[in-house]
Amino acid sequence: MNTEIAEKIKNMLVENLRIPADELEYTSELFGDDIGLDSIDSIEIIAGIDNLFGVQMTGAARENFQTIETLTKYVEDHMGE
């Protein structure tokens, strides 16, 4: 996993979605009970990923949004497309 990308995504989630940094691991389930993201947050993630990396996630499958790790992989796979 590209930790530089992962760290940028983490910072974006902390900044834009007010998730406390110390409760957010790369493998935390973003849409699970603990962090509890919802559909509005996913819109914000899509906008954030687009801003940071120019990668479009509109319409991307749900599993790509599960953790910072899966988001990072999606960005790695689609950067520069």
């Binding site: 834009n16 007010r18 509005i40 947050d41 819109i43 914000e44």
Partner: protein, 780 residues
């Protein structure tokens, strides 16, 4: 008990401006003939956006008025002028304090917020005078000032339900004898804030909205609708023409989600049920419903379900969404639709929902069942009873009933004693130079009330402090909410400035990055009622839920409002809160107005105060409810009063008589004389003008140097929070929780006073523009 004509409320004047035209007749003619006001947006850049439709008023702000007010105020003044003229209402020195202004609003002075931060971004400087045009609190005040109306004022800021809730509140206050008439309704201007916000949420329709049809999003509109709501006796005495009756109304809370309605429609149905029941009607009596009908899938599905569930026995019901022509005018929506509904009742014509193709009509037939959705063309039919629905962000629902003829309505009012049975405080304790006093909230505070990170991370500062103070008050009052009481508990949040930090943050991103750069995460928190919404969701409170923005005094006004709701018979318990935040954004704005200074109450040296923040919530409860559950009583809320003497927003000079009147009226409401008051929990904040006004008015009213407590000495000018704290302090003092002596100011000089024998303490509060409230607290 009262006779029927005592409780009759009538509509005697109409005023309307929206994309359909300037004036009620023009708008009604367009709406009833299915002519749309939806066009391409002109006033907001839609570059990079997937939608570009809107329903804007043709007139520029300069064309509306030469007054230097925000567009929301100008639209409201325009409609109010038409309505007052239509009603033939002559305002005189003798009757001006019996007619007030209650207006609904969602985005406040959003056009001015946009302008201020655009100026700052582009030129590096912005006009401080634009800051006074930002808060929603200015709107009712500006209308009152323009027309010289000195009755109680309120801005109801419950987003898309605000326009209907303001009418409901106006009718309730008149029935309670608090006024003869109100200029009531709502107003909102088109704004980049709302457009960017709904765009970010993907809630805008790409083309014109299509309610109860394609349901693929809303189209935003702007405008103002004003009704002169008047007691029948007063209207009759002055020989006024009467359009129709206002019967009952209902306000409820979903306690579900901050933006989405409950899919099961339970909250909507609760409001409609309350409205029909308090009108003394059956569901089968209703001829027409002007639906909320926004055109989003979530709203339309829930509303279809609500209507079918409640009205399927009704074989003559027509339903339409006039938003298909006016667009969604947010805080003005309910009032614009109320004007159109009144016209429908008077003309026996139901305006259509437009936009159906032949194919759409076939689909509608399946979904509509026996309900007539009036597609494309108006329906001529008798309209004796009509309902208007409004549902909002925060899960707030409101419904109101208009009738062609008088109808006996059940009298649910009571004159029970009311008690404060719980107190929850979040107030500042850390002072930073130049930034004022701030409160601290840690994750432990959330844990204490079982609030998980997944919930609290959504909240902005304003919502955070409201949630914690509300939960602390419920815990202090030993109230647990379950199915047995969830519908009998309500919320009133009073605020001066609302969630200004979130609004400014959102607006700056839009100014700097364009309309397509709005944050979906932040937008739901930019509405003033989000804090009350989150509180209701977490606590599970499903009764009345209102947020009132009325400058500093709104915190104390929330207690007056709560008392009115309780005496009106709607609820058993109300949580009355005052909430205002102090962040770098608030400190900067107050600083630019030149209002920050290192002063102390009664220092009488210079203008300015130390800014504070906080949220203070009080449980106000009916005696029967408190006794039934053996609640501990801090104090009795023995009397309340709200007054106004219209002066320019941002000033107070010249309005002193309204403070005197608030004190005298609150004492009269408590059945006591002003000489019975032992002490005042006052509003001195260190600003020379405010403190002098307070001292001189008390001297005049009480005829002596009465002891005054100054809560702002420790918490700063926490605005609405300080207003509620004044009452909390008095209640604790009367309950003996603060010992037998307390620090007071007598004639502006500090002194320790013996409080052990106190029976009555009065709390009084001021608001910019001449709004005042007063509450008499009695030893329980």
């Amino acid at each position: 008990m009262s006779n029927m004509s005592d409780r009759r409320i009538v509509v005697t004047g109409l005023g309307l401006i929206c994309a359909l035209g300037d004036g009620t007749d023009k708008c009604w003619s367009a709406a009833s003939n299915g002519i749309t006001g939806i066009r391409e947006v002109q006033s907001v850049s839609t570059e990079g956006c997937y939608a570009n439709k809107g329903a804007e008023v043709a007139e520029s702000s300069e064309q509306l008025s030469s007054e230097d007010y925000d567009r929301s105020s100008l639209l409201c003044i325009k409609a109010a002028g038409e309505a007052l003229a239509d009603a033939g209402y002559t305002v005189t020195a003798d009757n001006s304090n019996r007619i007030g202004v209650i207006v609904g609003n969602c985005v406040g002075g959003a056009a001015s917020i946009d302008k201020y931060y655009t100026d700052e971004f582009k030129t590096g400087s912005a006009k401080p005078s634009d800051i006074l045009r930002m808060p929603a609190a200015a709107i009712a005040n500006n209308v009152a000032k323009h027309f010289g109306l000195n009755g109680a004022t309120a801005n109801i800021v419950n987003a898309c339900a605000a326009g209907t809730m303001s009418l409901s509140y106006a009718a309730d206050l008149i029935r309670a004898g608090k006024a003869d008439a109100f200029v009531a309704g709502g107003s909102d201007s088109f704004s980049s804030l709302a457009f960017a916000g709904f765009h970010a949420l993907h809630a805008l329709a790409a083309d014109a909205c299509s309610p109860f049809n394609h349901s693929n999003g809303i189209t935003l509109g702007e405008g103002a609708g004003i009704l002169i709501v008047e007691s029948y006796e007063h209207a009759k005495a002055r020989g006024a023409k009467i359009y129709c009756e206002i019967l009952g109304s209902g306000v409820s809370s979903d306690a579900h989600h901050i933006t989405a309605p409950r899919p099961d429609g339970q909250g909507q149905m609760s409001a409609i049920r309350r409205a029909v029941k308090t009108s003394g009607l059956e569901f089968t009596d209703i001829d027409y419903i002007n639906a909320h009908g926004t055109g989003t899938a979530k709203n339309d599905e829930a509303e279809f379900l609500s209507l079918h569930t409640l009205f399927d026995e009704n074989k003559h019901l027509s339903v339409s969404s006039t938003k298909s022509m006016t667009g969604h005018c947010l805080g003005a929506a309910g009032s614009i639709e109320a004007v159109l509904t009144v016209k429908s009742v008077c003309e026996d014509v139901v305006p259509p929902t437009i936009g159906y193709s032949d194919e759409d009509l076939a689909v509608l037939k399946e979904k509509a069942g026996e309900i007539d959705f009036v597609p494309n063309t108006k329906r001529k039919k008798p309209v004796n009873y009509a309902v208007s629905n409004s549902f909002a962000f925060g899960g707030n629902n409101a419904s109101i009933v208009f009738a062609k003829k008088p109808h006996e309505i059940p009298d649910n009012t009571n004159s029970e004693k009311l008690y404060i049975t719980g107190i929850g405080e979040v107030v500042g304790n850390t002072e930073e130079e130049g930034k004022g006093i701030r409160a601290s909230i840690t994750s432990d505070d959330y844990k204490e009330h079982g609030i998980k990170m997944a919930f609290y991370r959504k909240l902005d500062r304003f919502s955070q402090i409201q949630l914690i103070s509300g939960m602390r008050a419920l815990a202090d009052g030993k109230i647990t909410i379950d199915e047995s009481n969830e519908n009998d508990i309500g919320i009133v949040v009073g605020t001066s400035d609302g969630p200004m930090t979130e609004i400014v943050g959102f607006q700056k991103a839009v100014v700097e990055g364009g309309t397509a750069n709005g944050s979906a995460f932040s937008f739901p928190n930019t509405v003033y009622n989000a804090a009350g919404g989150y509180f209701s969701i977490f606590a599970g409170i499903k009764g009345y839920n209102v947020t009132v923005a009325n400058s500093v005094q709104a915190g104390l006004q929330s207690i007056c409002y709560a008392a009115d709701v309780l005496h009106n018979g709607s609820e058993n318990i109300m949580v009355a809160s005052g909430t205002d935040e102090n962040t770098d954004v608030d400190a900067e704005l107050y600083g630019k107005l030149g209002l920050l200074a290192e002063t102390k109450p009664y220092s009488l040296e210079k203008p300015g105060f130390v800014l504070g923040e906080g949220s203070v919530s009080l449980i106000v409860e009916k005696a029967s409810s408190a006794e039934k559950r053996g609640a501990e009583k801090y104090a009795e809320v023995a009397g309340c009063a709200m007054t106004h003497h219209a002066v320019e927003f941002g000033t107070v000079s010249g309005s002193e008589d309204a403070l005197a009147k608030a004190i005298e009226s609150a004492c009269a409401d408590a059945g006591i004389s002003v000489s019975d008051i032992d002490a005042v929990s006052g509003f001195a904040n260190g600003h020379k003008t405010i403190d002098e006004l307070e001292l001189s008015t008390y001297k005049k009213v009480f005829g002596r140097d009465i002891p005054v407590f100054a809560v702002r000495e420790t918490i700063g000018e926490a605005r609405a929070a300080a207003g509620t704290e004044q009452a909390a302090y008095a209640a604790k003092l009367l309950a003996g929780k603060l010992g037998s002596t307390a620090k007071a100011y007598i004639g502006g000089k500090a002194a320790d006073v013996d409080v052990s024998g106190y029976k009555y303490v009065l709390a009084a509060a001021w608001g910019a523009g001449g709004s005042y409230s007063a509450v008499v607290l009695k030893k329980a």
